[in-house]
C-alpha cells in the first residue's frame, strides 16, 4: 500500500469509500508519520485518543454507506483555534495549560463534516511572526530543509502538510500567515475574504485582519476544506451572511479571457531574482492558458507595512489584555499585590515579540498619540483598499504577484532584526488590510530546491476566481507534485 498520509483527499475518499483502508488505519498512519517526523516540531500536541475515536466513528458511518467529502479525512489544526477538551496554547507559555471548554466554529464545522483532527499545530506565539521562531515550544522546521524556517505564523500547519503528515490543515492569516508559509513549504493555501469564515473560538491577534483558511497538497483539496469552514456564524458579528458558492465547481472554469492584473509596485528592487523569475514564468503560463495580463498600480503598497504595524498591534494590545493570570493562563507565583500579579504574570507568560507588539499597540492607542497613529493608519488603510477596488473595478479580475520578496530563509537569519522580519510580509499584508481573499500555489524552486509560491488576489467574496486560476495553473504545471525527500 502506498504511503496513506501522502494521499490527496480524492484518493482518500476513493480508498475509504471502497474500504481499501479504514479511517482508523489512515489516522494511525498519519499519527505514526507525525511521530516519525517529530524533529520538524510541527505539532504542539498530537491527540491520538481523540483522533482514533473520531476515526472509529467515521468508519461506522462509512460502514453504514455514508459518504461526505471530508468524512474520515485527517487534518491538523493550528494551535490558535480552540478545541474543546484539547489544550490550545496559541504557541504561548501564557496558555501552556489552557484547555478550552468549547470548540471554535470552524472546528465544529469540520467535525460535522466528518474530518479527523490528529493534533494541534505549532505556530508563532499568538500568530505574531513570519518564521515560527516565536513559538514558546520551539521553531517548527521546513521539511524541504530543516535548517530553514517553514514561514509563519502558521508554520506548523504548512510544514505538516508539506511533509505529507496529513493532507489538510487549518491556519490563520492576519498579515500573510497562511500564504507566506504555503509559499515557503511549497503547498497550496488560501486566506478567504474577511468575513467569509467565523472567527468564533479563534484566539484573536488582530480582529479586523484575522481570518482562518486551509492548507492542502493541491487546489481541489484546498477547495474542499475551505468549503467546509465557510459561511455565516451567529456567534461572530463580523461573519457575512452571503451565501457560499461551490468552490469545487469553480475549479474547472479555466482562465480563458480572465484579466490578470500585475501590480508594478510588487516587482521592485529587493525582490529576489529567483522569486521574480518564477513569478514571471507563472504569469506566462497563465497567458498561454488564455488569460490576458495588464500592468496595474497599487500606489499605496509602500505604506502597508507601516499601517499594519500600527493597527495590528493596537488591536493585539487590546485583545491580549484578557491574559491577566486571573481566570486562566499563566499566573506568577507568590503572594503578590494586584498590580505586581498582572505585570509579573504577563512578563513571564508572553514572549518578546508579543510584548513588543503589546507595547507598540498600547502606545498608539494612548491619549495624545491616537490621532497621529491609529486614526491616520485607518485612513491610509482605506486608501490601500481603494487601490484594490479601483484595480478590480477597471482593469482586472484577479491580481497575480509574488508572495514574499525572498525564498525561505535560515532559522536565526532574521530573528535578531524585527524590521527585516516585518518586511517579509510586504506583499501579503495589503491583502489583509483590504479584506480580500488571497491564495498561494507552488510555482517554482530556488537553485537549492526551496519552494517558491505564486500569490493570487481576488475581489471581495470572489474565492471562485482564485480557485479557477489556481486549478488551471496547477493542471498546466508540475510544481505541486514536488515533495520534500523526507516526506517519503
Amino acid at each position: 500500500m502506498s504511503d496513506l498520509p501522502s494521499l490527496s483527499v480524492a484518493e482518500i475518499r476513493a480508498g475509504l469509500d471502497s474500504r481499501k483502508f479504514s479511517a482508523v488505519e489512515l489516522a494511525q498512519a498519519c499519527l505514526a508519520k507525525a511521530d516519525k517526523l517529530r524533529s520538524l516540531n510541527c505539532f504542539t500536541e498530537l491527540t491520538p485518543e481523540h483522533a482514533l475515536k473520531e476515526a472509529a466513528a467515521a468508519d461506522a458511518l462509512l460502514a453504514g454507506g455514508k459518504s461526505a467529502p471530508l468524512l474520515g479525512v485527517p487534518l491538523g489544526i493550528k494551535d490558535v483555534i480552540c478545541t474543546k477538551g484539547v489544550r490550545t496554547t496559541a504557541g504561548s507559555k501564557m496558555l501552556a495549560n489552557f484547555i478550552p471548554p468549547y470548540d471554535a466554529t470552524v472546528v465544529r464545522r469540520l467535525k460535522t463534516a466528518g474530518a479527523i483532527s490528529i493534533g494541534k499545530l505549532n505556530m508563532d506565539e499568538f500568530a505574531m511572526g513570519s518564521s515560527n521562531e516565536n513559538s514558546a515550544f520551539g521553531p517548527a522546521r521546513n521539511p524541504w530543509n530543516p535548517e530553514y524556517v517553514p514561514g509563519g505564523s502558521s508554520g506548523g500547519s504548512a510544514a505538516a502538510v508539506a511533509a505529507r503528515i496529513c493532507p489538510l490543515s487549518l491556519g490563520t492569516d492576519t498579515g500573510g500567515s497562511i500564504r507566506q508559509p504555503a509559499a515557503f513549504c511549497g503547498i497550496v493555501g488560501l486566506k478567504p475574504t474577511y468575513g467569509r469564515v467565523s472567527r468564533y473560538g479563534v484566539i484573536a491577534y488582530a480582529s479586523s485582519l484575522d481570518q482562518v483558511g486551509g492548507f492542502a497538497h493541491n487546489v481541489r483539496d484546498c477547495a474542499l476544506v475551505t468549503q467546509a469552514i465557510c459561511g455565516e456564524d451567529p456567534n461572530d458579528a463580523t461573519s457575512s451572511p452571503r451565501p457560499v458558492p461551490s468552490f469545487e465547481k469553480a475549479l474547472s472554469r479555466g482562465v480563458k479571457g480572465l484579466r490578470i492584473g500585475i501590480p508594478k509596485e510588487y516587482f521592485v528592487a529587493g525582490l529576489s531574482p529567483e522569486v521574480s523569475e518564477a513569478t514571471q514564468k507563472a504569469i506566462s503560463v497563465l497567458q498561454d492558458l488564455g488569460a490576458t495580463t495588464v500592468e496595474i498600480s497599487l500606489p499605496h503598497t509602500d505604506a502597508a507595512v507601516s499601517v499594519y504595524y500600527i493597527l495590528a498591534p493596537a488591536e493585539a494590545s487590546s485583545n491580549l489584555a484578557r491574559y491577566d493570570g486571573i481566570r486562566y493562563g499563566h499566573r506568577a507565583e507568590g503572594q503578590l499585590d494586584l498590580k505586581t500579579l498582572y505585570s509579573k504574570s504577563r512578563s513571564e507568560g508572553f514572549g518578546k515579540e508579543v510584548q513588543r507588539r503589546i507595547l507598540v499597540g498600547t502606545y498608539v492607542l494612548s491619549a495624545g498619540y491616537f490621532d497621529a497613529f491609529y486614526v491616520k493608519a485607518q485612513r491610509v488603510r482605506s486608501l490601500i483598499l481603494k487601490d484594490f477596488t479601483d484595480a478590480f473595478s477597471g482593469s482586472c479580475d484577479v491580481i497575480v504577484a509574488p508572495t514574499t520578496p525572498t525564498p525561505p530563509f535560515r532559522i536565526g537569519e532574521k530573528a535578531s532584526d524585527p524590521l527585516q522580519m516585518y518586511l517579509n510580509d510586504i506583499f501579503t499584508i495589503p491583502v489583509n488590510l483590504a479584506g480580500l481573499p488571497g491564495m498561494v500555489v507552488p510555482c517554482g524552486a530556488t537553485a537549492s530546491g526551496l519552494p517558491i509560491g505564486l500569490q493570487l488576489i481576488g475581489k471581495h467574496w470572489d474565492e471562485e476566481s482564485l480557485f479557477a486560476t489556481a486549478a488551471a495553473y496547477e493542471q498546466a504545471t508540475e510544481w505541486h507534485k514536488r515533495t520534500p525527500s523526507m516526506a517519503g
Partner: protein
C-alpha cells in the same frame, strides 16, 4: 454672598433583558456565584461579542421617551483597564458617539414643572463583582453581573438642589419602569448613581470647582450625600478656601463624604472602536416601530388626569407613580365614569388594603372592573358610602365581584319609598310616646326615629330617604 447649587447626575440603569449585552448568558439577578457565565462572559480566548438587539431597542425606547436624538450608526468602543472583575481587560461601551443625545426629563417639584436636559444616553456592559473573603484573606470574583446591559444617562448640570436631584432620579426610575426596560431596583443595583456637585455665586455663569460622589445606592443617600456636600463646600467657600476637584464616597453610617483612595495615576482608557462589532444601524423604520409600541408616559398621564379628569396635580402625581397604578385607575374610570371617586377609592381604600395585605397591585383581588362596578352602585344611590366600604372589604378578602357580595349579604340599600314608609309607620305605632313628642315639635326625636328605622333595616335603608319620609309621614299624621 449667596451661592447656587449646581448638580449633574450620571445614572446607570441595568436593562431587564433575558440575556447579556453581548452573549446568550442569562442576565438574571442573583444566582449562585458564576452561574450565569459562558465563554464570552469569561473573556475566554477566542470568544466574540454579538450585540443584543433587544438592549439596543431598550436604548431607543428610553431615547424616544426623553425626546433624545437617536444615532443611526452606533459604534461600540473598548475602554481598557485592568481589574479582576473585568474579564476581557476592557469594557465594551460607547465613547464619543452615544446612541442618544440632547434629550430631556420632565418632573414636578411640588406644583412646579421642571425640565432637565440630558447630555447623552449610551449603551455599555456591566462588570462583575469582586468579593473579599476576610476569612481566607482572598478575593473572589463573581461574573454573573459581567456583561449585563447598562444604559448610562448623563444629565446636564441643571439640577439646583439635593431634593431636586432626588426627584430627578425618581423620575428616571419611574420612566424606565414605565418603559419596562429596567426594574429600577436600587437595592439590587439595577439603578446606580454618581453625582457631580459644585457651588457658584448666584448670578455667576462660570461653574465652580466640582466634586464627584460615586456609587450612591438609594434615593435617601443621594439627597443626604448632596446635602452634606453642599454644606461642606459652602463652609469652605465662605472661609475663602478652595474646593479640591476630587472623587468622593458617601459613608451612610456617619453621613459624611470622604475622598476615594486616589488612583495611582490618571487613567488613560485607550478607547478605540471594537473591531469585533460592526456598527449597529438604527434605521428610521426601526425607530418608528419602537415608537409605535411606547406606552403612555407619566408626563402625558399627569397632563390628561389634570385636564381631562379634573384631578389635582397631587392626586395625578400619586396615581402616576407606577404605570400599573395609573392604568388600573384608568380602567376603574372606564368602568364607572367617575374619576374623582375612582381616584379616592384607588389611592386610599385599594392602596391601603394592598399595603396592609402586602399584595402587589398586579395581584389585587379586586379588579379594576369590580371596583368600577362598586363605585357605580354607590353613585346610583343604592349603597351608602359606609356600606360600600364593607362591601369592598368583602370583595378584597373573597375576590368576589360587587354585585355578588351585595346579594350574598343582602346589603343592598333599601331605597323604595313604600318599603321605607312601611317601616316608619310600624316604628311610629310602636313608639306612641315619642311620636307625640316629635309631633309636638321635639326635633331631637326625629333622630330617634331615624335611628329606629336604620336599626330595623340593619343600616340598609337609604338615610336621605329615611330622613325625608319620616318628615313626610309626621306631617300627614299631624294632618
Amino acid at each position: 454672598m449667596e451661592f447656587e447649587t449646581v448638580i449633574g447626575l450620571e445614572v446607570h440603569v441595568q436593562l431587564s433583558t433575558q440575556s447579556k449585552m453581548f452573549c446568550g448568558a442569562s442576565a438574571a439577578y442573583g444566582g449562585e456565584p458564576n452561574e450565569y457565565i459562558d465563554p464570552v462572559t469569561l473573556g475566554l480566548p477566542g470568544a466574540l461579542p454579538v450585540a443584543n438587539r433587544r438592549a439596543v431597542e431598550f436604548a431607543i425606547m428610553l431615547g424616544l421617551a426623553t425626546s433624545s436624538e437617536i444615532r443611526r450608526f452606533n459604534r461600540f468602543s473598548r475602554k481598557h483597564y485592568f481589574y479582576p472583575d473585568l474579564p476581557k481587560g476592557y469594557q465594551i461601551s460607547q465613547f464619543d458617539e452615544p446612541i442618544c443625545e440632547r434629550g430631556s426629563v420632565e418632573f414636578y417639584m411640588g406644583e412646579t414643572k421642571r425640565m432637565i436636559g440630558l447630555k447623552r444616553i449610551h449603551m455599555e456592559e456591566d462588570a462583575g463583582k469582586n468579593i473579599h473573603d476576610s476569612r481566607t484573606q482572598s478575593s473572589l470574583v463573581d461574573l454573573n453581573r459581567a456583561g449585563v446591559p447598562l444604559l448610562e444617562i448623563v444629565s446636564e448640570p441643571e439640577l439646583r438642589s439635593p431634593a431636586e436631584a432626588a426627584a430627578y432620579l425618581r423620575s428616571i426610575r419611574q420612566l424606565v419602569r414605565y418603559l419596562g426596560v429596567s426594574d429600577g431596583n436600587m437595592e439590587e443595583g439595577s439603578l446606580r448613581c454618581d453625582a457631580n456637585i459644585s457651588l457658584r455665586p448666584v448670578g455667576q455663569l462660570k461653574f465652580g470647582t466640582r466634586t464627584e460622589i460615586k456609587n450612591l445606592n438609594s434615593f435617601k443617600f443621594v439627597e443626604r450625600a448632596l446635602e452634606y456636600e453642599v454644606a461642606r463646600q459652602m463652609a469652605l467657600l465662605k472661609n475663602g478656601q478652595p474646593i479640591v476637584q476630587e472623587t468622593l464616597l458617601f459613608d451612610s453610617a456617619s453621613g459624611v463624604t470622604r475622598p476615594m483612595r486616589s488612583k495611582e495615576e490618571s487613567s488613560d482608557y485607550r478607547y478605540f472602536p471594537d473591531p469585533d462589532l460592526p456598527p449597529v444601524v438604527v434605521e428610521e423604520s426601526w425607530v418608528r416601530e419602537v415608537e409605535s409600541k411606547l406606552p403612555k408616559l407619566p408626563s402625558k398621564w399627569i397632563n390628561d388626569l389634570v385636564s381631562e379628569y379634573g384631578l389635582s396635580l397631587y392626586d395625578a402625581t400619586v396615581l402616576t407613580g407606577e404605570k400599573a397604578a395609573v392604568e388600573f385607575f384608568n380602567d376603574v374610570v372606564s368602568a364607572c365614569s367617575n374619576p374623582k371617586a375612582a381616584c379616592n377609592w384607588v389611592t386610599s381604600e385599594l392602596f391601603g388594603a394592598l399595603n396592609r395585605a402586602g399584595i402587589e397591585l398586579e395581584k389585587s383581588p379586586v379588579s379594576a372592573g369590580a371596583l368600577g362596578d362598586l363605585i357605580k352602585v354607590v353613585d346610583s344611590g343604592e349603597l351608602s358610602g359606609k356600606m360600600a366600604k364593607a362591601v369592598f372589604e368583602e370583595m378584597f378578602s373573597s375576590g368576589k365581584g360587587a354585585a355578588a357580595v351585595i346579594a350574598d349579604k343582602g346589603l343592598k340599600q333599601i331605597s323604595d319609598d313604600d318599603s321605607i314608609l312601611a317601616i316608619i309607620r310600624r316604628e311610629f305605632d310602636a313608639n306612641e310616646k315619642q311620636l307625640a313628642g316629635y309631633l309636638a315639635g321635639n326635633e331631637r326625636l326625629h333622630g330617634f326615629f331615624v335611628g329606629q328605622v336604620m336599626k330595623a333595616t340593619e343600616g340598609a335603608a337609604n338615610p336621605k330617604k329615611v330622613n325625608d319620609l319620616i318628615r313626610q309621614e309626621a306631617a300627614q299624621r299631624k294632618g
